[in-house]
Amino acid sequence: MPVCSYIILPREGAAESLRASLETLDGCEVVPSTNSDILLLVTDTPSLEADTRLRQTIEDLEDLQLMVLSFGEIDPDTQDPDPLSHSRRRLRVLDADTRSQSGAPR
């Protein structure tokens, strides 16, 4: 049940259309800056897999220039009796990340 937040920079002049695209996606909450093009995005998805899919979808958006993860909580619903379980998941994510360094964007 991951909740993540991102800082998003749209391509020049595409702030409005990017915002519109993001708002159509399930599990996305968008907060635009009042004085710049920056958008804040909070994603709330039912599973790690859905989170990965959503992120992929966003990354494929034409209007996206830059997307930086700011916050990630994999399982906010529980006190997490064994935090290492999600830690291990996160480790795998990280390792996958670092291994794929020469490949295509994730």
Binding site: L66, L91, Q101
Partner: protein, 226 residues
């Protein structure tokens, strides 16, 4: 012992830096070091390290897109409990394995294009025998299953009893005296990243809790009455 010596040398160099010689009239004067030579108190001195290193602007511009940025959860995944030395989460170059020299990437941290991520800064770069405490796991299974329970992480905004008030420091300061290492700039996990890394006197606003949960009560019997 080596570490201890290295630590004190570092601090002596840090605190007793030579006097500037911009005064022509006085350049002939042989300057001596200040009379104090005791170990500085790391928790007090640590936060000001960047000020003395001339590393005055720690906020970095973001590099290219698709950067993996660490998070509080990811940080937790590398520690057995809050305050434990983190594991090394990335493959090591054989040369590094040999020299055990992590300082090129971790003294100041910064963006690492090869790993497409930020190298975190060490809060104690004067300690260079890194693998004394930090190890690289090479298998993911356990020897036998462990009943170890990881205590809950310090909460967000602990002590921030008032909305918008600066949170208290939810962890001990030992080995973590240099706040900006973990809380400032690109290498910092954004969910614990400060938006004001340029203010050095951190404990001006963020109290270090000595007695968690303590409630003040007046000494002696009888309260306000004698």
């Amino acid at each position: 012992m080596i570490t201890v010596v290295a630590l004190s040398m570092f601090w002596i160099i840090l605190i007793l830096r030579p006097l500037p010689d911009e005064h022509d009239d006085f350049r002939s004067v042989a300057m001596v070091e200040a009379p104090e030579a005791d170990r500085p108190i790391a928790a007090e001195a640590g936060a000001f390290r960047d000020l003395h290193d001339g590393l005055l602007n720690v906020a970095e511009a973001l590099p290219s897109p698709h950067v993996f940025v660490s998070t509080r959860a990811a940080r937790a995944s590398r520690r057995a409990y809050d305050g434990a030395p983190p594991l090394i989460p990335h493959p090591l170059d054989p040369l590094v394995e040999q020299t055990q020299d992590c300082t090129p990437c971790h003294t100041y941290g910064g963006y690492n294009p090869e790993l497409r991520t930020y190298s975190p800064r060490s809060p104690h770069p004067e300690m260079t025998n890194c693998m004394q405490c930090h190890v690289r796991p090479i298998v993911s299974n356990a020897f036998v299953p462990s009943d170890w329970e990881m205590p809950a992480l310090p909460g967000y905004g602990m002590g921030g009893a008032i909305q918008g008030a600066p949170p208290a420091i939810p962890h001990p300061l030992q080995m973590r005296e240099h706040c900006v290492s973990c809380h400032g700039g690109g290498p910092a996990a954004p969910d614990i990243r400060t938006d004001h890394p340029d203010r050095f006197n951190c404990r001006q606003c963020h109290a270090a809790i000595e007695a968690p949960g303590a409630v003040f009560s007046r000494p002696g019997p009888g309260g306000s009455d004698r």
